[in-house]
Amino acid sequence: MLCDVCKCNDATVFLTQILEGKMQKVNLCDACSKEKGVQDPTGFALADLLLGIGAAEEIEKGAPSQKCPICGFTQADFKKTGRLGCSVCYVTFAEGLGSLLKAMHKGTEHVGKLPQRAHREIELDDRMRSLAEDLEKAVAEENYENAAALRDKIKQLEHEKAV
């Protein structure tokens, strides 16, 4: 049986809780149970344990028909398989995934290798962001000559990024 939270490891901790007369069962792997502080039974609620799934239900409530625009994957599919449909799903279901990733990993941000082209893209994004700020300032100061130059630069960078 797979862990309800990470859906990757075998469940070793089995919890049952009765909430408002409704019985809920959760199966967790060793790592997830520790992460959730299951050792301390007073300090958790089953609902919180179901972080990923709980978040998923939240998204479902907000937009029941939410589907990944690229691959058509839904939150229900994730609940079933524990795998995502495509890379864009990480954006589509970002809200629910955030807490799930936080629970299963050491950190929340990648600090390792990225493809060479990613470094260029990130650098371009940074430059464009700073230019956009300058542009806003220039417009506010009614320095239109400067603003026009900044706008052209941003356009050029956008073109570079698209190549």
């Binding site: 990757c8 495509c86 890379s87 941000e109 990648h110 290798k113 990225l114």
Partner: protein, 374 residues
């Protein structure tokens, strides 16, 4: 390269010549990569999966590391051939279950194997003998860097490489080592070690990965998390933990020689007796007994030149290897007979355990394996 060549050449890591090779059987590093905006293999329809395969396969085959490679579509491999690759850790059990739309490409030395459309579009794995996680990472990292110039990999500036399962997101890297720990098992300290390793966020698994039983006193140790830590940090942390476990294993062996020598010699003697005279043996029993003989070689009870035949038996007595070499499909009972027969034949000229040699070595206080730096 043909499948027959894979069978006949043992593959570099099976020869067991790397640092700490007495205890660390092999080191593996795998990277998971996916193409941008394409459905992951588990969600893609057959047509899209095949399309993705056709996009990736030629790029992998043209890698300089893959000159003279073995490249096969999964539907063209028999169940037995797939199982042989699983037993050599060249493909995963999950990949062996795949058919149309998946492929495997590996180099002649069997140090690099790339699965297309496993759980992710690309699973690239480097495998080395002994404790060589750093060099294993270096090889697979180089391949990744070449491929990223030709294929549009999915990544996110904040989340790193995007993978089908959120547990692999970030580096997409799983580094692992296969350890042979009979000393810790016999001295009943293995559970303590496993618990300690788990506590620091590393996973301990059986012979064939997730959800498999520990047999032959073989354990896989790997990183559990992939997000928030750099690749080389993960590799260094894992290497340090493994070096500590190696020390503990040596300590446990010394303790057994000094305090439980009767138990130890009994185990080695029994293993020798059963292996040389049995006529039916399951693969589990074979692994467990071979493990004890391997320990005997490590301790000097058998001559060092008998190490290779024992190491070879570890893999040659696995069910698929057994059937492949006998060129026929066998039922469990026939396999057990054949397994015992092969072991008997290979151990025919094997000398009896010589305990006096062990005692002498431990008295001199000589370390059977000098520490090597990776």
């Amino acid at each position: 390269m043909k499948f027959a060549n894979i069978m006949s050449t043992g593959g570099e890591w099976l020869r067991g010549e790397g640092p700490h090779h007495q205890i660390v059987i092999s080191s593996r590093v795998r990277l998971a990569r996916n193409l941008k905006q394409r459905a992951f293999p588990g969600w893609a329809k057959k047509a899209e999966r095949t399309q993705i395969l056709e996009l990736i396969k030629p790029r992998v085959e043209e890698l300089p590391e893959m000159q003279d490679s073995f490249s096969e579509l999964l539907q063209d491999l028999s169940a037995l051939e797939k199982q042989v690759l699983v037993e050599r850790h060249l493909i995963s059990r999950e990949h062996a279950a795949k058919s149309v739309g998946s492929a495997v490409i590996m180099n002649r030395r069997q140090t690099l194997s790339i699965m297309i459309n496993e759980e992710d579009h690309l699973r690239m794995q480097s495998i080395r003998s002994g404790l060589q996680l750093k060099s294993a990472f270096k090889l697979v990292d180089k391949v990744d860097s070449t491929l990223e110039g030709k294929l549009d990999f999915a990544y996110d500036a904040r989340l790193g490489y995007l993978t089908a399962c959120p547990t692999n997101v970030g580096t997409g890297m799983r580094a692992s080592a296969m350890l042979h720990l009979p000393g810790l098992v016999l001295s009943e300290m293995i559970n303590q070690v496993i618990q300690a390793v788990n506590k620091i966020g590393l996973a301990v698994r059986g012979l064939y990965g997730e959800g498999t039983e520990a047999m032959g006193n073989l354990f896989q140790i790997s990183n559990q998390t992939t997000l928030g830590e750099k690749e080389d940090e993960i590799v260094n942390r894992l290497s340090k933990v493994i070096e500590t476990i190696i020390e503990k294993e040596h300590d446990a062996r010394q303790m057994l020689i000094q305090k439980k020598s009767n138990t130890l010699w009994d185990q080695i003697g029994r293993a020798y007796g059963v292996l040389t005279f049995a006529h039916a043996m399951t693969s589990k029993e074979a692994l467990n007994l071979l493990s004890i003989i391997k320990l005997g070689v490590d301790l000097g009870a058998f001559p060092e030149d008998r190490r290779l035949p024992i190491d070879e038996l570890f893999i040659d007595t696995q069910p698929a290897h057994l059937q492949k070499s006998s060129q026929q499909k066998l039922n469990a009972e026939e396999r057990d007979h054949l397994r015992a027969q092969i072991i008997r034949e290979r151990l025919r000229a094997f000398p009896k355990p010589d305990i006096s040699k062990v005692a002498k070595e431990s008295e001199n206080g000589s370390n059977p394996e000098p520490p090597t730096n990776e």
